[in-house]
């Protein structure tokens, strides 16, 4: 696809509609691309009913993606909430594939329940890497499920985290409610607001800055985002952070 990690595509099912979906795989893995789709609306419900060999329409890639040049030689702190792991996975895979270009890698991953964890095989792989630290939490854990991670919201993982704030860039993707609290924790750890990047979910209809649905103040999320630094977002009145 020749995309940048963090970009998105518009996926079409003709007769149903089109929806913006983050690309969940790294461009460093040639030959295919992957999308992680949660069933929440008409288009995604229909996507979940597709069979192998069915046809979909894809436009893109759109958006800016993660700022790769600013991330070189930096320690990377990935903070993923739920389905937010999908867009981050494109960057995690990229960093793992080009390991020498980046410093330490930390992944904080929070879900509602252990069964909701995505990409379990890949999580195992990341857990076992000596140069990668994975910390996990769930909001609640059924009694009959074995769980070695933390029970609590994702911010409860931050006290275990040992980072050098001057070398670290945080990449945060999750539900809007998570952002405010995670940003506060990142700032508490001493990470500069120019080094905290978030990806915003908006209703990108056209992906080309025409339809107006994803506009926040004077920026279009589909063109100027979906990845913004907290420094950029804090200047925009109309965001959740």
């Amino acid at each position: 696809m020749n995309h940048r990690p963090g970009q998105f595509v518009e996926v079409s099912l003709f007769g149903i509609g089109e929806a913006p979906i983050s690309i969940a795989s790294s461009p460093s893995r040639d030959g295919s691309f992957e999308l992680g789709v949660r069933m929440v609306g008409n288009v995604t419900r229909a996507l979940h009913q597709l069979q192998p060999g069915d046809t979909v329409g894809v436009r893109g890639p759109f958006g800016n993606g993660f700022p790769l040049s600013e991330l070189l030689r930096r320690d990377l702190l990935f903070v993923a909430g739920g389905i937010g792991l999908c867009p981050l996975r494109s960057m995690i895979q990229y960093a793992v594939d080009k390991r020498e270009q980046f410093g330490k890698i930390f992944l904080l991953y929070g879900c509602r329940e252990p069964a909701e964890q995505l990409f379990p095989g890949e999580l195992d792989e990341w857990r076992q890497r000596p140069d990668t630290r994975v910390l996990e939490s769930v909001d609640r854990c059924p009694l009959d499920v074995a769980w070695e991670g933390r029970v609590g919201v994702i911010t409860t993982l931050f006290p275990q985290l040992e980072i050098d704030p001057n070398r670290t860039t945080a990449l945060v993707v999750g539900p809007p409610v998570m952002y405010r609290y995670v940003i506060a924790e990142c700032l508490k750890k001493g990470i500069d607001k120019n080094n905290i990047f978030l990806s915003l979910e908006r209703r990108m209809k056209c992906g080309m800055g025409f339809c107006g649905h994803c506009q926040i103040n004077n920026v279009y999320v589909c063109l100027d985002g979906p990845v913004f630094s907290y420094a950029q977002l804090s200047k925009l009145e109309e965001t959740e952070v």
Partner: protein
């Protein structure tokens, strides 16, 4: 569009009417018609339907360049998926556009034929000839003169000025030249007639009863600084989120995209239709979260988003008078002839350039809000 040296012609009104009749016979012409109450752009079938001494139309002519609904692509799923895109565009003429609407069109051009191109818009734009006319008797609630939008930008094919018994005709493109040569019996305008146009335009500027004493650029800053003003709360309480202000605005472009299937479930169409940032679900994502929930927030963002993003270099969306009306600082009527200024806080302005006339009674009963804006 091929530009030519702007020759200026004269045609009598009788000659002009005959020409319009001929143009209508051979072309798809959309012109201004009288529609009680007010005026509207509609397909012309006879020259006598055309009304060029109107003040304002209900909907702006941009409806022909951004029609609603508009087909984006057609598809058939059986026996194999086939998708066909592209607008079905027919050459047409818009006759009677006013300067402020042409300024709005310039803004649409900046949006849709900029770094990224909307192919449907570009196709319609290049297939549409623009014949405009000077607005010599402005709408009583217009403030176009103070916004610099009372005279036309040079993006027309033909421009008309009503000199009384004749039309002064300025041609500004090869297409306009072709139309004049084919349909109009003209003679070159004299120096005196050209001066007469200048005088008429100058007089028309003094006929605008209302003005905003801020420049478009200042309004950008004004909106930026007043994001947290309680005025938006007050406005939000009165707003029904009906979206009418954005539907009649010649500069609003927001659209939604939908699919529809034929009853055979094999063929369908993807189309776009006008949408509005004033609608409650406009920014709602599939998971149910929305960036804009409060009406006050919708009102303020609707104003701010559009202005800050594209207006800087082009012009001012007329409906932004809405926030201005609720400040105590900006809205003044001007009686230029007498040189005196009257405060108009008791005369709220209509919210847009394409609306209907508010009745005097309803205006006088309306509460005037004069909360000062902090820092302004």
């Amino acid at each position: 569009m091929e530009k030519i040296d702007t020759p200026i012609f004269i045609a009598s009104k009788t000659e002009f009417r005959t020409s319009v009749e001929n143009i209508i016979q051979e072309n798809e012409v959309h012109g201004v018609k009288r529609k009680t109450p007010g005026f509207t752009f509609d397909r012309l079938f006879a020259a006598e339907e055309l009304c060029l001494d109107y003040d304002i139309t209900v909907l702006p002519p941009s409806k022909y360049l951004l029609p609603t609904p508009e087909s984006l692509l057609k598809f058939s799923s059986a026996p194999k998926l086939r998708v066909r895109s592209g607008a079905e565009v027919k050459p047409s003429i818009i006759l009677g556009i006013h300067p402020y609407d042409l300024h709005a069109l310039k803004l649409l051009d900046a949006v849709f034929i900029g770094d990224l191109v909307d192919v449907n818009y570009r196709a319609r734009r290049s297939a549409t000839a623009i014949i405009g006319v000077d607005c010599l008797n402005p709408w009583p609630y217009s403030f176009a003169a103070s916004m610099g939008t009372a005279l036309p930008p040079a993006i027309f094919d033909i421009w008309l000025t009503d000199l009384g018994d004749e039309y002064l005709i300025e041609v500004d493109s090869g297409r306009g030249d072709g139309l004049v040569k084919r349909y109009l019996k003209t003679r070159s305008a004299s120096e005196i007639q050209i001066k007469q146009r200048a005088k008429l335009r100058e007089d028309s500027l003094s006929r605008y009863q209302l003005s905003l004493n801020v420049s478009p650029r200042e309004i950008t800053e004004l909106l930026d600084k007043t994001w947290n003003s309680p005025l938006w709360e007050e406005l939000g309480q009165k707003c029904f989120s009906c979206g009418s202000c954005t539907m009649v605005c010649p500069t609003c472009v927001c659209f939604d995209v939908r699919d529809k299937m034929e009853l055979n479930r094999k063929e369908g169409e993807r189309y776009r239709h006008w949408d509005s940032c004033m609608f409650e679900g406009f920014a709602k994502v599939a998971s149910g979260e929305t960036a804009c929930t409060e009406r006050a927030s919708i009102c303020s963002s609707a104003g701010e988003n559009w202005v800050v993003s594209v207006v800087d270099d082009v012009c001012m969306p007329a409906w932004l008078i809405l926030p201005a009306q609720y400040t105590s600082i900006t809205v003044w009527p001007r009686r230029l002839n007498s040189g005196r200024q009257y405060r108009t806080s008791k005369l709220p302005l209509s919210a847009h350039a394409g609306g209907t006339y508010p009745s005097r009674t309803s205006l006088s009963k309306r509460k005037t809000v004069t909360t000062p804006i902090k820092g302004w």
